[in-house]
Subunit: 365 residues, 3 copies
């Protein structure tokens, strides 16, 4: 829809409030005159200008609501509107975040892409097959016998190694490196600076040096995966490191050799999974967390931010901490920790009191 | 001053101790003959050669002072000089670190830069405006309608996206990627491998997949910001992700969508701020720390290394730990933690003793 | 051996079980007919096909052993074989991991490399010396007066700055940046996207801004070092940041200015050492750990994953936690932490009981 609606915007000017209500399948707001007001964008309640739309998803921001200059506000059903909201243009929605996500598509400018075909400054090596509808940008490199699928875009400076297969409708942003013999599915997006298929980190001390263990495997990135910037997905020792379909990976994430991510996993920024970690379906990893090598996190489990999973995690279990423990237990321990210094003092006092008490008792002869 | 003083060095040979004393506005050291000794560089007390300068900023290194071979030593006023320092050439300064920083400028070799103008192997797209005094290096790419300000240097392989504005006197090192529609102020330095303007990490589970939330905003890097290598600053969901003027960011740092950093913030290596985090003026983040989404850290507050701020932080407050708590409290808890195993044993003992005591008492009938 | 054995494979087809037994210096397995079976690769017990080899290194995977379809299994001596292992082809080895590492070399495909010489799309600046046997790939850049040693390979898009020396038999993967005046020894491997020689992170608040401290030093990477992807090794403030010979560094690692790593150190993924850290010989750092500035970790010491060393570490000492403490103490504290919430309750109960006891005693008049 994004491309179509943008076309709509550029051909017809800015969308009106009426357009937005229609997109969200809502009745027009009370003040009918306002329906024709063109909306130029979206911002927070505090920052929105009189030509922008804003949103209110929680009671916490009710104060900002009263002072916003926004042309109209998407308000979540569950929010209790302040008494003095009369006179403000309001669109009540089930879920403000979801509504904003949909409205943003109306304003999404197209991503600039190299034109279809192979740029004269690009290099395509012998035996590579580039679909006629693909775009290979300035200074991009396609290795021998590699395949670039239909409508796939390689932005400037992208490197695709020999024998690697990139599917259809993929987008590799500037500077992405995909080494040899890797496989990318369809609709895979990799943001600038990410590196796929470097050697896994494997050595053995042979008595005088760390001898390298060959990393002869490969990497498979399944359909609909999106990787952020400066993500590293290492080549397997043997077989393949795998990122399951529909998984979404944030910036600066480490995925080590032979890791196996199920479908629809989430890894937030600066998190990492060590070698041979396996994640089930829909596993979610918080920012800066880590999973120890060979650990299995079962379907639907979650690891909190800044946490480290050192042991297997049960389905749908939420674990937190270093080492990670069940989240409720973590909260109980943290609450107790806040009182630990006093607890020591209390124990000292008990010891003293007990000592005093004993003196009051008759000697046991 | 750096360029001028370097010119001085290359035109006149190495600076003498007299030159250094003059730069630091100090009286010449006692041994006048030594004033003409050429100094070839700076190193630690242990490593300095007889033609190098060294420094002593704390009593801790007094032992190294006694054995140093350095031609002369910058000594901080507060340091108690060892008794046997006679015969050593000493320049007493208020602050040894600051003095070293100034002296280093005398020896700073110029950074090699591409010559002014556009390299024949670079690509400048239609409608881009490159200042005549700017340098666009080998294989650099300047997108359509982008602007490159006066005296700005794009090193080899830099990518500047369409409609992006790069101010004056900026320096983008090899391989830097700045995506479309971003804005860089003046005197912005970005080290090699950093990525500005990738999509923020935003999805919504729609029942069958993580649906992408459009990230239609942009990035604003204000004047005098310096970013290290492999830093990721993501494009905002709407409006702009902002790095305030004069802020300094170390390597491998994550700055997520809609984060807003005030002026003069510091983020040490491998730290990260999640979505919509706001930092006031002069906030300092230690290495590998993290700030949770939507958290506000007020002016002058600090987050310790390896810590995670999960809640708002007060002005000038110092917080540490996972989750971060006031630093003093953190230290008290850690001190208590060191005794926690014994504490359990002590409580067991108290329980036993109390049990024994009770037996000594007459039965309550 | 890798190249030779690969040659063997490609010239003679897949290796047989007899070839593998010979490589490992083992007697042929019992079933002699099987010796001629060609083996196509290596995989886990669960995933191996009937033409692949697998391995069993610990009792934990005995269940998988019983159901594996592998053509043969390398079994570690120490593993108790399940009773029903008859009929399975087994090669008993001292160390299954080591045996696998050696066998993998039989299957390692050659890394695709640019041909020897300078690619017409590369740039070699004035005064640079490229050995005739070196390969400078597509779009690589070699700065003025730089040296590229014999048989060294610069993959596409590599940047080597002015006056930098790259030794013999090095391999720099796509997009690697080595800034000016750095020194790389022989047989150094740097994976894609790593950045060597950016300015160290040094500023001083001068009352109105963070003034930059010149970083005039350099970086020395000694012989046989391997760096992963997106690794940052910063230029020293003065003298050199050094990575000692034979050290192995994983992805997304930060090595700050003036850090000094001894020989044969290991840094796992996303770990970091701050400024002026010194590591002795064979120091091992776990994933996501950090070492505070100026800390010394002595020979053979280890820092656990997700830990932070804030103070010096003794030779061969193992430390863990935030802040890092001796590993045994860390385990004792963690065990106690699991009971901390109950401990509080127990202390409350003791207080109540003591109070009750006191009432039973005669008043002290």
């Amino acid at each position: 829809m994004s491309a179509l609606t943008f076309l709509f915007v550029t051909m017809n000017g800015m969308p009106t409030l009426a357009d937005i209500a229609k997109l969200l399948d809502l009745p027009l707001p009370a003040a009918d005159d306002a329906a024709a007001v063109p909306i130029t964008g979206v911002d927070t309640l505090a920052a929105a200008t009189p030509s922008q739309l804003s949103f209110l998803g929680s009671d916490r921001l009710a104060k900002d609501f009263q002072t916003t200059r926004a042309a109209a506000v998407l308000v979540a059903k569950r929010v209790k509107l302040p008494a003095d909201s009369a006179g403000k243009l309001i669109l009540v929605v089930d879920d403000a975040d979801l509504a904003v996500a949909r409205v943003l598509q109306l304003f999404a400018p197209p991503v600039p892409r190299p034109p279809g075909g192979v740029d004269p400054a690009a290099r395509v090596e012998a035996g590579a097959v580039v679909a006629p509808t693909a775009a290979v940008g300035f200074n991009a490199f396609v290795g021998a016998r590699a395949t670039i699928g239909a409508r796939t875009v390689l932005h400037p400076g992208v490197y695709v190694g020999a024998d690697t297969v990139v599917g259809e409708d993929c987008e590799l942003f500037p500077g992405v490196v995909v080494r040899e013999r890797c496989t990318l599915g369809n609709r895979v997006v990799i943001h600038a600076g990410s590196i796929i298929g470097s050697d896994g980190f494997g050595y053995r001390w042979d008595g005088s040096r760390h001898a390298k263990i060959p990393q002869i495997g490969t990497v498979v990135i399944e359909d609909d995966v999106e990787l952020g910037s400066c993500v590293c997905v290492d080549r397997a020792k043997f077989a393949a490191t795998r990122v399951g379909r529909g998984s979404k990976i944030d910036n600066l994430v480490q995925i080590a050799h032979n890791a196996d991510l199920g479908p629809h996993c989430i890894m937030a920024g600066q998190s990492g999974v060590a070698g041979s970690v396996s994640l089930g379906a829909g596993v979610m990893l918080g920012g800066q967390c880590a999973v120890r090598d060979h650990v299995h996190m079962a379907d639907g489990s979650m690891l909190g931010p800044c946490s480290g999973a050192m042991d297997d995690v049960e389905p749908r279990q939420i674990v937190t901490g270093l080492p990670a423990i069940p989240h409720r237990q973590f909260l109980r321990e943290q609450a107790a920790m806040r009182h630990l210094p006093e607890l020591r003092a209390e124990v000292r006092k008990l010891q003293d009191e007990l000592c005093e008490l004993r003196k009051l008792l008759p000697p046991t002869s």
